[in-house]
Symmetry: C2
Subunit: 375 residues, 2 copies
C-alpha cells in the first residue's frame, strides 16, 4: 500500500499573546513504515490527563466559537500570569489525545497481519481521524470488542494496576483511593476484589457511594459526612492501609488521610513516641481535581511521604516484563474488570463547542466523554 | 563492683489535667550487668530533637519556677487542644536527653576494659548524673578528647552523614540544606567539602552566611534577600541539586526549593511536557523550626516527593555495616569535621529556670546549650 490518507486532526495552540485556539486541521499521512500502522480512529476518550494539553490554563469563561461548520475553531483568553511554565509550547500547534482505538487501514510489511484488525493505541495525538503509529504501541482487541471497548485500555487500566503494583513493591497491605467512584476507581475496586486487596474508597456523595456498593466495594467513606474522619480511621484501622492514591491534590484531604493512618497506627500503640508512630504512611498525588495548594500540618510524626505519581515513569521503572504482564491482563479482562462507561459520544467538532467544553472540563466523577472522529 | 550509685535525673511529666512539670529526681542505679556500664555524665547537649519530649506542647508564657534550690521544679500549662497525640505519655515521668558523654565509673565483666575511660553515649535519659547503659551504645573517645567534645557525637554527626548517604543511595549528585548555619549544617559543609559533594546552603541572615563562608562553603543563599528565588535557582542549576533536607518544615520553603529545582531542570528543556520536567525532586523534612503547615502548590509537575526524615529508622535500614562505618568516621574526625560549638554550659538545675528555658527553647541557629550534670 503506497497511498497517502488525509483526515482532520484536533490541534491546540497557545500563542505568546496569551490566546488559546482549538482547530481541526487537515493532515496527510504518508504510507506506514515497515513496523507501523495507519489506524482509522473510531473512539478516543477525553481523560482528565488530556485536559491540560487541550485547554491549557485558559479562562473558560472567555470561550468563543468561530470558523465554519466543517472547520470550526474555538478561542479563549489565557490569563497572562498563567503563561509561566508554558514557554516550550507557545505558538506551537499541539496534537492532543492520549489513547484511542480504531481499525487498521494500512500496515507495514513486518506487521501486515494486523491489517483490518481493531486495535487499542497509546501515544498521543489520538483526537484525529487517522493516526500513524508504531505497532508496538497498539494492542489488538479481542474478537467482538468494539472500538469503544478498547478506547480506554491504557491510561485508566494501567494506572489502576500501577497502584496495586506499587502496593506490592513498597510492601503495603491495603490502600486508600480518593475520587473513588471514577471509572478508574471502579476498575481499581474490581482489581482489588479479584486480588484480595482491601481498598478504602473515599467518595464525595451518597450517589457515588451507591455506584461503588453496586460493584461490591466493602469500605466506602463519604468525605462530606460529619463523621468522615472517624469512619476513615475505622476503615484504615480495619484494613491496615498505609498507602493512598489521591486524585484531588489540593486542600487538606491528603493531610486528613495521613492523620487517619497515624491515628489507626496509634490505636495499638502502648509506648509514647515523640516522633509519631513508626508506621510509614505514603500518599501519592496523581491528579489535580483541586488545583489549590496541598496543606500538610505534619501532625503525624516523621514517618510519612507525599509524592507526585505519574504513570509513564512508573511503567519505565517497572520494566518490559512487568509492562507485558499488565497489558496482557488488560486485554484479557477488557470488557469485565476494565470496562469503561461513557456519558456521551461526541464528534471532533463537538470538542470545540463551548457548551460541550463546559461539560467535559467539569471532570465530574463518573462522567466521561468519548470522541468518535468518524462522526 | 557491687555498689549502687545515686544521682539526680531530670524528669518531664505532662498530667492528664494538662500541666507540664519538670523536676530533678534522685535515682539509684543497681550495679551494671555483664555488658553494661555506669557512666558519670559530664556533658549532654540540648538538641532541638530533645525539646519536644522535655517541654511538650506547653505554653512557655506560663512557666513557673517552684521547689527548693537543690530540688527545683518548673511547671507550665499545656493548652487542652494540644493533648491529642500525647495520651501514651500522660502522667508518666519521662527521662530526657538523647546523647551525652562522661566517664565510666563501673563496668560489667565483659566490658571491664572500659572502666575509667571517657565515652560518648546515645540512648535517651542523658540529662542525669549517672547513666546505666549497654556498652554497645557507647563509643570510647580518642585520647585527650573532653566530655564536651564527645557529647554530640551521635545525633548531629550521624544525621549529617545520613544526608550524604541518602544522596548516594537515591542517586542525587548535590544537595540543598536549610537552616544551614546550624551546628549540623556546619558539619554537613565540612563533610561535603571533604567528599566533593556540592551543597547549597540556605540561611536566613548575613551573619549566618558569614559563618558558612568562614568554613569554606561555596553556595550560600539568603532566604531574606530579595533575589532569593533567582539565586537559589542559579545555585541549583549550577550544582544539579535534586535533593533537599529541610529543618524548617512549615511554610513555603520546601515549595520554593521544589520550584527552584524545577526551574533549573527546565532551563535546559527543549520540549514541552505538560506534566512538568521528568527530573525527580525530593525534599526531606527533618525538623520543625516552623510548626505551621507545609504548603505545596505542586507547580512543579508530578516528579517530586516531600517526606519526613528521622535518623533512627534510616540507621536501621542502613544496616550494621553502614552504621559501623559512619561511627568510625565520627570517632576519627571528632574534633575536626564533627566539632560542636556551645553557647553556654549549664547545670541540670539551670534547665528548669524560666529565663534559661526561654533561651534554649528559641532554637536560634548556631546557638546550642550543653548540660554538665556535675555542676
Amino acid at each position: 500500500m503506497t497511498d497517502t490518507v488525509t483526515g482532520l486532526e484536533l490541534r491546540s495552540t497557545i500563542s505568546s499573546d496569551a490566546k488559546l485556539t482549538l482547530s481541526l486541521e487537515p493532515v496527510t499521512l504518508s504510507p506506514p513504515g515497515p513496523d507501523e500502522l495507519i489506524v482509522r480512529v473510531e473512539a478516543a476518550p477525553i481523560n482528565p490527563s488530556d485536559l491540560f494539553l487541550l485547554l491549557g490554563p485558559a479562562d473558560l469563561s472567555t470561550l468563543q466559537a468561530g470558523g465554519t461548520a466543517e472547520r470550526p475553531t474555538l478561542t479563549a483568553d489565557v490569563p497572562q500570569g498563567r503563561l509561566a511554565g508554558l514557554k516550550t509550547r507557545l505558538d506551537q500547534s499541539m496534537a492532543v489525545g492520549n489513547e484511542g482505538a480504531g481499525t487498521v487501514v494500512a500496515a507495514g510489511e513486518n506487521v501486515a497481519e494486523l491489517l483490518g484488525k481493531r486495535v487499542g493505541m497509546i501515544g498521543g495525538a489520538m483526537f484525529t481521524q487517522y493516526r500513524k503509529i508504531a505497532a508496538r504501541d497498539c494492542i489488538p482487541l479481542p474478537d467482538g470488542a468494539s472500538a469503544a471497548d478498547g478506547a480506554s485500555m491504557f491510561v485508566n487500566p494501567l494506572t489502576a494496576l500501577a497502584f496495586v503494583e506499587t502496593l506490592k513493591i513498597e510492601g503495603h497491605k491495603a490502600l486508600v483511593h480518593t475520587a473513588a467512584a471514577s471509572n478508574l476507581g471502579q476498575m481499581l475496586n474490581r482489581i482489588c476484589i479479584a486480588d484480595g486487596i482491601p481498598l478504602v474508597n473515599i467518595v464525595r456523595s451518597e450517589a457515588q457511594a451507591a455506584i461503588l456498593r453496586e460493584i461490591g466495594a466493602k469500605y466506602i467513606v463519604d468525605s462530606t459526612a460529619e463523621d468522615f474522619r472517624e469512619k476513615l480511621t475505622d476503615a484504615i484501622a480495619e484494613t491496615g492501609a498505609t498507602l493512598a492514591f489521591d486524585a484531588i491534590g489540593g486542600g487538606k484531604l491528603a493531610n486528613t488521610i495521613l492523620h487517619a493512618m497515624e491515628a489507626a497506627a496509634n490505636r495499638t500503640a502502648t509506648e509514647y513516641s515523640r516522633y509519631g508512630s513508626s508506621t510509614f504512611k505514603q500518599v501519592y498525588i496523581y491528579g489535580a481535581l483541586d488545583l489549590g495548594p496541598t496543606e500538610l500540618d505534619r501532625g503525624y510524626g516523621f514517618a510519612w511521604g507525599v509524592s507526585g505519581f505519574l504513570l509513564t515513569p512508573f511503567l519505565i521503572k517497572l520494566g518490559m516484563e512487568g509492562n507485558l504482564r499488565l497489558r496482557a491482563r488488560v486485554a484479557a479482562e477488557l470488557t469485565t474488570t476494565f470496562a469503561s462507561n461513557y456519558t456521551a459520544t461526541i464528534s471532533l467538532a463537538d470538542v470545540l463547542k463551548p457548551d460541550v467544553v463546559a461539560a467535559y472540563a467539569k471532570k465530574a466523577t463518573g462522567e466521561k466523554y468519548l470522541i468518535d472522529p468518524a462522526r
